[in-house]
Point group: T
Chain length 140, copies 12
């Protein structure tokens, strides 16, 4: 089984940005731990701050992978183009957020992307990704 994690804008700063809030661990380190815990899964990881490159990534893996975990960051609430890409591909996509979007500013309560995802997991920090993997592996 192949699962692809696609991270959007500012997530490359994890571990560096406000560590007292987001923790000291960067995403690459977490990613290795996650891969080790699921040796039978073929993981792919991609991050970009460019809206269009995220669309390209969805196009690239969206017809072959078994599942995509998408944390679109700030694009979640504004990008119709990214939402169109989620709708266009065949691989099921799970929306993931570190924080609970309903506990933040009003402009984060909208999600264009969510409308086309299988489901959404938000608020559990890095564990949000692990839970999404559980969905795909039916291990939960």
């Amino acid at each position: 089984m192949k699962l692809v994690i696609i991270n959007g804008p500012n997530l490359n700063l994890l571990g560096k940005r406000e560590p007292e809030i987001y923790g000291h661990i960067d995403f690459e380190t977490f990613f290795k731990t996650l891969a080790l815990a699921h040796p039978t899964i073929n993981f792919e990881y991609y991050q970009s701050n460019v809206e269009g490159e995220l669309i390209n990534a969805l196009h690239q893996w969206g017809f072959s992978a078994n599942g995509i975990l998408l944390n679109a960051g700030g694009f979640t609430h504004t990008s119709i183009a990214l939402a169109d890409a989620v709708a266009a591909v065949k691989t099921p996509v799970v929306e993931v957020h570190l924080s609970n979007i309903f506990a933040r500013e009003n402009f984060r309560h909208t999600s264009y992307i969510g409308a086309h995802c299988v489901g959404s997991i938000s608020g559990f920090g890095l564990q949000s990704y692990a839970l999404a993997v559980s969905y795909f592996t039916n291990m939960a």
Copy 2:
């Protein structure tokens, strides 16, 4: 560890209501399977169609249980009183939905309750509950 599942309005119809969409399994049956899969957890299950009884349930378990899984159904989008109850209790609450609320009608895109929950899991059907349990058990 004690976990309480609190289900809101119309979830007692599961298995009976539009089974071609929601499946033929009722919640009690699923609950037994879930409990069997986690023998070390002390599960409690409560359902009511009455908003105030859900508030009562949050008050009853919200100072002693280790975690609460709350599927508030239609009250998610309208009940400030229920959201106040989630804010008032000490036990961490995870918001759970069978369906993806962003893929439904506009009036379901709002969540008063979400603002006070640890996190939210929606769109995975009954597996949404299993993923929430994973969060509490750190099994994910």
Copy 3:
């Protein structure tokens, strides 16, 4: 044929509340007259001020009765949970109002419930119920 009349909040005050507007007749008296006028119909009458008990009533009769007349009062405009219940049951439901909701305050111009009812009859006072019965009996 079995028809169930379900009345929501404050309708138990009929005859007592502002009688110069709503008249001096209470609902129970009207109900007896209605039942006498249709001797072949098996009528059931239920009233509650509790939203969840109205949902319970819809669940109880919504898979066996031939028709339901629902006057949800103030819940008409606010209750997604009650609207979900109307959508979930199999018995056809007719929305009934004593007054014409479009001639009242703006916040009464919305109806969550109406979206899932067969039809709606409002503004004819107690005769609104009689007209709804006519629909079910095809007597009209």
Copy 4:
């Protein structure tokens, strides 16, 4: 007793337009059946696609007839002028709709006309007219 049925835009297509939805019967045929069923009533029928002609019709019969059944079609949601006409005449007017306006697009959830009608009956197809007649005849 004289009752006037006034139909607005596109209702002349009944029976011809999407018959699998609206049925194969045109309004004239239904009208004859209705008149036959109420031999003591003096019925009048008028249809126009022109907003101002509907206003003219309300003016013509609105000071002499005993009742008017008005299905204003798409003008229901946009015509302040037509609503003013309903308010200006003395004959009581009942709003009638074939379909349940709350189960359709958002822009159909508004009714300027309803604010000045005695009551409203919608969602019962052609039977909506029959129920309105029942109101006037007190047969219900």
Copy 5:
């Protein structure tokens, strides 16, 4: 000097409709008085309940008359087409209303037509017309 008065929907009912509010005088009678008081002005009067016929009237006189007094009634607030006609003609148009539109319902506080008129006079009953004539005659 030629002045044309164009009256929109329901104004033909003046004197007949709610006379305790609008007075017992019909527009034709008022019109004769007005014409007598200004013997040097060539007056024309036109009334229609049909939006398109009002547009036609604006087209007919809007390139030759010296001034137009337009009371568009309920179309004031809804008709972009009528406003386009006012913008298209060359004769200056004065907006006239019997009642003060800001003292009525919210939906009457908008005026598409006003944006293209020279000015607006509202709230003075039939005297609103006389004041508009004063504007054109510079008698004021």
Copy 6:
């Protein structure tokens, strides 16, 4: 003189919930002090988390008591049904809030209930109730 205090959702947690904010005193204790301070008043106290039971309480005392103090908690901002009940009863009702609703979230700035109350007192903590009693006793 008979005065009834009706408390809505989550107010049963007073003294237990976030005591550093709301204080360590529970409502029952406060109620006893209040009663002692007004020995000539016949006080009644009722609390429920169930919207419909609050409506029932208003019906029960709303035709006989001399005054009602209503703290509807989160229902203040969402319940048209409760507001209808306040409008329907004859006893004057005073709206009471512990906190100042205009200093809190936007969705608490609306009050359906306030429209039908004699007056409103908010922001003075438990003293809000004492001030409302002063109104009824004219002691202020």
Copy 7:
């Protein structure tokens, strides 16, 4: 007969401000011409840029003068306090504007003041005042 003209903010700049648009005549000059043309009227003129002083002026003359012409300028669209003053006095007030407010920015399409005035005259430049005087003198 005593008529008072009350001018609001920025109208003291007339003749000085953008004369190519508003003309080279200042208000005082116009006022003298107006007074000369109506020798039997006792005119009073007041201007202020201070909202509260305009309220004071309404209080001062609003119980004795026969009519008030109020051009509230920019306060027209924002001042509830000024509108309350118009509502509180007994003298009839006519709203006057130099320009047509519906042909300007959106935020000028609202009028709090208009709701309490007898009528409104806008768009005719200084002649708007003359027309308002005509209303009071019945000369029109």
Copy 8:
């Protein structure tokens, strides 16, 4: 092949209205040129300023012609009734505008009609019609 061009309000003024903007050619002249350029097409042309007559025209040709070009002018943004007529007929309808509606006032950015048309062509002046004909002839 039979194609019908239906023009709405104010388009009869073409060539006469603001010719420096809209050009000196009237629609009839353009229509002749268009017909000459497509000798094998049976063209029909209809214009009216009356909303209901445009609905009539859609009914008349909407079940027999091969294509309809509809420029509804100002009705585009306000007429639900006209949009219903487009939805009711069987002939494919193409929406045509002389000007680009998104470059004009905000209230022209809405189109009720567009939702039921095959497609929309706007902003190319009279050439918009020619492009729509190209669509029907597949000549493009």
Copy 9:
């Protein structure tokens, strides 16, 4: 103890304005009665129709008095500057209204000022002031 009552626009008309609604007593008379009833309190009374003078008054007493009762009248709903002044001073301010603002027009349901006041008392007529004094004296 020093308490200052600050009254905003139009409150100087009390007793004179619509006495059948607001009563025949003017504020000065009421003020004397209030002072007599609390001989140990050093009262100050200030009224102005000018927004900036009310800000000045808040600045003048807002660092020395023990309490301020502010009835900002129509400025309550529009003045951010006055709300800033309430936020800037150190003396606790209680918002007072004669009428219940939620029972009036929609534009009176907003309060910029309330967000910075200790609490709010509205709807009890002149007794609203007395209740606010009770709050400061703890007499309630």
Copy 10:
């Protein structure tokens, strides 16, 4: 004559994405057919999912080409930056859409880009491009 076609996000999936809806032909194939049909035109084709690269493309050809066909996909409704680019270049730009944007979700009814284009063609599938070419070649 040089014409440039600029395609935005997700249009590279044409032929691959939901072929039962969008057809089996990809854009490159269509582009070759289009170029063959217009041998005298020098065509250029560019596609990108990156908003900024589309802006770059407009900058690159927007001062030299004779025309640009822009299908901005999902950016149509959100990108002020792209709209600024259209406004900044000198080459006339025609907005093109495969589907009719008014027949889709509400958030697609807005177009920032349209305000600066010559015209707009939408809803004709790939033929929309051909019609836009017709505009530039005056072949239509």
Copy 11:
């Protein structure tokens, strides 16, 4: 060169109001430092809490000074009359704010005044004034 600084409501409290946030320096002291640093500039300073007096100040200096620095405080977001005054005068006006208005409450994100100013500088505390002076002196 003559520059005038006009400060609006509550700015007279600077140094006294929340000094831990706004600092201990009052505006007069800062003003002296600013004047000393620019000995060739003829500075004028004016502050008022009265909206109309700020308008008067703009009128007084707005036709003779070389530049005006306007910090309108809370009036920035509500005063159309003040914005009209900025538009009416000839001296260029620069909008100045101590704090960044986009980082504060939603109702501070609007600026009527900004639309008529040369430019805007906000968020730099008292240095905002110095930067505005730099603009006028071209020293920057």
Copy 12:
């Protein structure tokens, strides 16, 4: 001291785009002049039309430079992701605009980015950058 200027979409067209409005000077030329005027500052300049590349640039310099001048162009009003990046970095960021955003279209009156910047300077053309440099050098 190191200062970085980051320019967003379309700013690379400066000097080329509408030179009669924006001037004939391109940004690179201005940048050289600016650098020459401040020989002790280590300037860096970066421009991109790609939203994500601007985020990358903020990440790259946002933990080491002493100040960042950000002109985000059209992304100012739509990009939550860019605003998140400003919030995430440690270097203070000043928002810069050539034009006054409040004097342009409504959709430019919002700024997501401004909420996280130190301050904002807009409307002074290229001098806006110089003023921002003054802020960082304290030269102002």
